[in-house]
Every structure is written in structure tokens, then in C-alpha cells.
Amino acid sequence: MRPVIKASLHYLALAVVSVLWLIPVYAMVINGFKSDLEVSSTPVLVPPTQFSIGAYVSVFGSLAKPLLNSLIIVIPTSFIAAFLGAMGAYFFYTLSYSYSRFSSTLSDVLFSLIALATFIPYQATLIPLTRLIVDMGLLDTYAGIIFAMLIFYIPTGALLMSMFISVLPRSLVEAAKIDGTGDLKIFLKIVFPLSMPGFISTLIFIIIQSWNNFFIPLVLVTTPEMKLISVAVEAYTGGYGTLYNDTFAAAMLASIIPLAIFIFLGRYFIRGLIALGGGGKGV
């Protein structure tokens, strides 16, 4: 085969896969801009002939509060989880200095725990979690949802940051240790600033995960006032005979923030995913 043909086939295969992969987001973007009239006459894969924001206007009223609620939850959750996780990760890093039996057992146990918290089907803690939040008097409060999310996302932060911190050169920390600097100070002054790209990856990963978390707000919110966007869109499931432009407009409003983050800072999210899998050299 001639190289030109080979290269074109190569790109053709990738283009076909990309088109297939992009169909859902294409449907989401075009259908939110259809007018009610056009919805009843066109299928979902045909773009609108006229551009209408009617559907966005009609769903925004009921989604504005959930969007705000999600922001109020996600911003503190992600910053706290990524920062406290980073602290924990530096502790693992210092543990790996001493090769004593005790510290290696301790690090195995702690690391298993944070991995459990990261990967467990968190739905399985439904009943004790609900009870804990109710007993703390935090049902239907921002604090309750944030607390519940931190149970899972601080360990996630620690796991991801462990991967990023482990690639820092030892000599930097060694030098500070010899000067008698405490570990807390070393973390704040040296390790944290140096692992800033890793911190951003961890932060973005947790923002997207917590924004999209469906189950925790589903069980810990019982009043419509406190609904988060991930759960609020469920009202637009519809069924046959309902107008789908509303569904897609709601879907778009719920996805616009994570999608925008993914489009502009996607490389950080991807590094976060790689760290989740156990790192790759120099992530």
C-alpha cells in the first residue's frame, strides 16, 4: 500500500470513531436550540433550521437554584479535598523515607484505606451515611453534602497527590530536613508549591467528579430547594410525547461547566485519570 493511502485510511478510521463518539454531544448542542414547533417535526440528529433559545429560557427558571447549589457544594469540596489530600500524600512520602517494618505496614494500611474510599461503590455506604448525616443534624444542608463528599474525595485527593508528589526529587526535601525544618513547613513552603501542576490536576478531577456525583445528593437532599444540578436534571427524563428540546437544554446547562473545564484544561483532567490508575512516568 502506498504511504499516502495508508495515512488517509489511518485518519479515516480515527475520524469515524470520533464522529461516533461525538454524536451524543452533537445531539445535546443542536437540540437545545430547537423551537417547540420544530421538535415535533424533526428527529434528534437533524440540526434546527432556526435558532431558538426558548427551551433554555423555559428550563433555566427551575435549574438556576440547583446550579447555584452545585457551585456552593463543589468549590469548597474540591479545594478542601485536594489540599488536605495533598497533606496526607506528603505524609506517605515521608513514610517511605524510613524503611522500618512499622512505617511500611502503616503506609500499606493507610494506602489500602484511601484506595478503598476512592474506588468503593459508594452507594454501598448508603444507610450508615444517611444515618450519620441525619444524626449530625445535617440533612438538607450544604455542610452535610460537603461532609459526605469529603469522606470520599479527601482520600481520592490523597491517592492522586501521592502519585504527583512521589516524582519530586528527594534532595530538595533532604536539604530542608538537614536545616531542621519541620515537615509541615516543608510541605507548605517546598512540596506544595512544587507540586502545583499535580494539585491542579487533582483539583480539576475532583471538581468534575463531585459536580457529576448523582447518588450522594440524591439520598442526602429531601427538599426541592436544596437539589443539586446533577439530580435536578432527572425531572427532564420525559418520555414519549414530551418535548425533547427541554431535555437537551437541561442536559447542556448541567454539563456546561465540566465540559468547559474539560475543553480548556482537559490535559489536567487526563493527568488526574492517569494518576488514578497508578501513575505513568512523569505524569
Binding site: V17, P43, M87, T125, P128, W211, T237, T247
Partner: protein, 285 residues
């Protein structure tokens, strides 16, 4: 160890211990008989497990969960290798990262929203079937037939999660010494031969990571079948986590915790060895 050092780990340890407490509390209740009908629970040993395991819905939903995970692991790994090798042989780094992003983007959208979108794409009059009939193919029933419902769920999961496998295989391929690949190419090996003789056999780590992550993610998929089936009671789409949530909503609390315990045990069997392999490789170098 100094006090300042210990303070570093307190938040992580505290929240991890809360999680452990939740898991153990859950396991404890699964040995009781707490439900709406019985508000003052007492210890009953394995009785709850025995009665739960005998339910049709339990085995039905567990089989669904395992089928979903096994299908996703199998399809995800195969497609992941194919896509990663297509990306590996691209000359342009820019093109590679754009194609990679297109395969990963479903993970940036919530599964609930993905479910909403796919509900309409699966509509037999105006969804994908409209295109199929336009080009003269027969309609596919998707969610409107009980036999194609579950495969339709697998299709969405494959679309959502295959990017992970492609990403880890690509990372694995990129770690293989370029000089070796070049030498093989000079010896006249084609892209296909390089992939299955050189790249794939040297990517065992990628295989382990993809398999573990695809299994763990698919095992806990909740919102996708929840939205696609419009609730928790559709037995053709009910997975273990959905069934557990259903038991909770009808207030069979101990039954729900028993299912949750079984789910946790299955996930833990994968998580702990995986975590210990990861720690040995990356933290203690």
C-alpha cells in the same frame, strides 16, 4: 515521628476512618433484621443473607452487574488496544491529544446527563433508528424490547468508559523504548505486527490498570441504568447497586445492608491487591 509530621495525615486518616466505620457499621447491620416492619432490630446471624440471596431479584441484579462489568472489561480492553495503537502511530502530537480528548470527554459529563441524551438517541422513531431507516436498514428496538435493553446499557457504558482503556494503553505504548520500535520498523515490520508482537506484550501494566478501573467503574454505575429505566424496579436493567437502593427505599434496611456488604466485598477483593501493587510501584521507589 514529630508532631508536625503527624498533623499532615490527620484529615486524610480521619475521613478514611469515617469511611471504614460506615463500611463496618453497614456490615454489622447486615447481621440484624432491621426493617420497616421490625424497627427494633436484633442479631440474627446470617439469616438476612440467606433470605436475601434466595430472592430472584438479588441473583438477577448481581448477574446484571457482573455481566456489565465483564462485557465492559472485555470490550473496553479490545477497543482500547485498537484505539491506542491507532493513536500511537499518529505522527502529530496535537492530533493525538485531540483524538484522545474526544474518546475521554464522556467522563466529563455526568452519567445522569449521558442517560438523558441516550434515552432520546434510543427513541425508535426519532433517534438513531431514524438514520437507520433512512439508509434502508431495519429498526433496532434498543430500550423498547426486553432482550435489547441490557445490550443498550452496555453500549452506553462502552461509549463512556472505553477512553480510559485507550488512555492507559497509549501511556503504556509510549513508555516502550522508541529505539526498539524503530529497529523493528527498519527490519520491515508493519504497524500491525509492531502492535501485536511488541507493543501489546509489553503493556501488561496497562492491561491490569484498564481491567481494574473498568471493573470498578462499571460495578458502581448507578445513575445510567437509573435514568435509562426510569427508576429502580425494571428487572431487565436492575444492577446490584440499583437493587440495594430499591431495598432501602422500601425500608428493608437489613436486606439493603446485606446486599451492600456483598457489593463491598466483591469490590474490595479487587481494590486492595490493586492498591498494594500501586503503592509498591509508585510510592516506594
Amino acid at each position: 515521628m514529630k508532631k508536625g509530621t503527624v498533623i499532615l495525615v490527620v484529615p486524610t486518616a480521619l475521613f478514611s476512618i469515617i469511611l471504614l466505620y460506615l463500611v463496618l457499621w453497614n456490615a454489622g447491620v447486615s447481621f440484624m433484621n432491621w426493617s420497616l416492619l421490625n424497627p427494633t432490630p436484633s442479631l440474627v446471624g446470617l439469616e438476612t443473607f440467606v433470605s436475601v440471596v434466595r430472592q430472584f431479584q438479588f441473583s438477577n441484579s448481581l448477574v446484571h452487574s457482573l455481566e456489565l462489568s465483564v462485557s465492559l472489561v472485555a470490550i473496553g480492553n479490545i477497543l482500547g488496544i485498537l484505539l491506542a495503537s491507532l493513536l500511537y502511530f499518529l505522527k502529530s502530537n496535537g492530533a493525538r491529544s485531540i483524538f484522545m480528548s474526544i474518546m475521554i470527554y464522556p467522563l466529563a459529563i455526568s452519567m445522569a446527563v449521558n442517560g438523558l441524551i441516550w434515552l432520546w438517541l434510543y427513541n425508535i422513531n426519532i433517534g438513531i433508528d431514524w438514520v437507520l431507516t433512512k439508509i434502508g436498514l431495519p429498526q433496532f428496538p434498543w430500550l423498547s424490547s426486553t432482550s435489547t435493553m441490557f445490550p443498550s446499557l452496555i453500549v452506553v457504558s462502552v461509549w463512556a468508559y472505553t477512553g480510559i482503556a485507550a488512555l492507559f494503553y497509549l501511556a503504556g505504548f509510549m513508555n516502550i523504548d522508541k529505539a526498539v520500535v524503530e529497529a523493528a520498523r527498519l527490519d520491515g515490520a508493519g504497524a500491525f505486527k509492531i502492535t501485536y508482537k511488541l507493543l501489546v506484550p509489553n503493556s501488561f501494566n496497562s492491561f491490569v490498570i484498564s481491567t481494574a478501573l473498568l471493573f470498578l467503574f462499571s460495578f458502581r454505575i448507578f445513575s445510567l441504568p437509573f435514568i435509562l429505566s426510569g427508576g429502580t424496579t425494571n428487572i431487565f436493567l436492575q444492577t446490584s447497586v440499583l437493587y440495594m437502593y430499591y431495598l432501602f427505599t422500601v425500608e428493608f434496611f437489613s436486606d439493603a445492608t446485606a446486599v451492600a456488604t456483598i457489593i463491598t466485598v466483591i469490590a474490595t477483593i479487587v481494590i486492595i491487591p490493586y492498591a498494594l501493587i500501586m503503592i509498591r510501584r509508585w510510592i516506594r521507589r
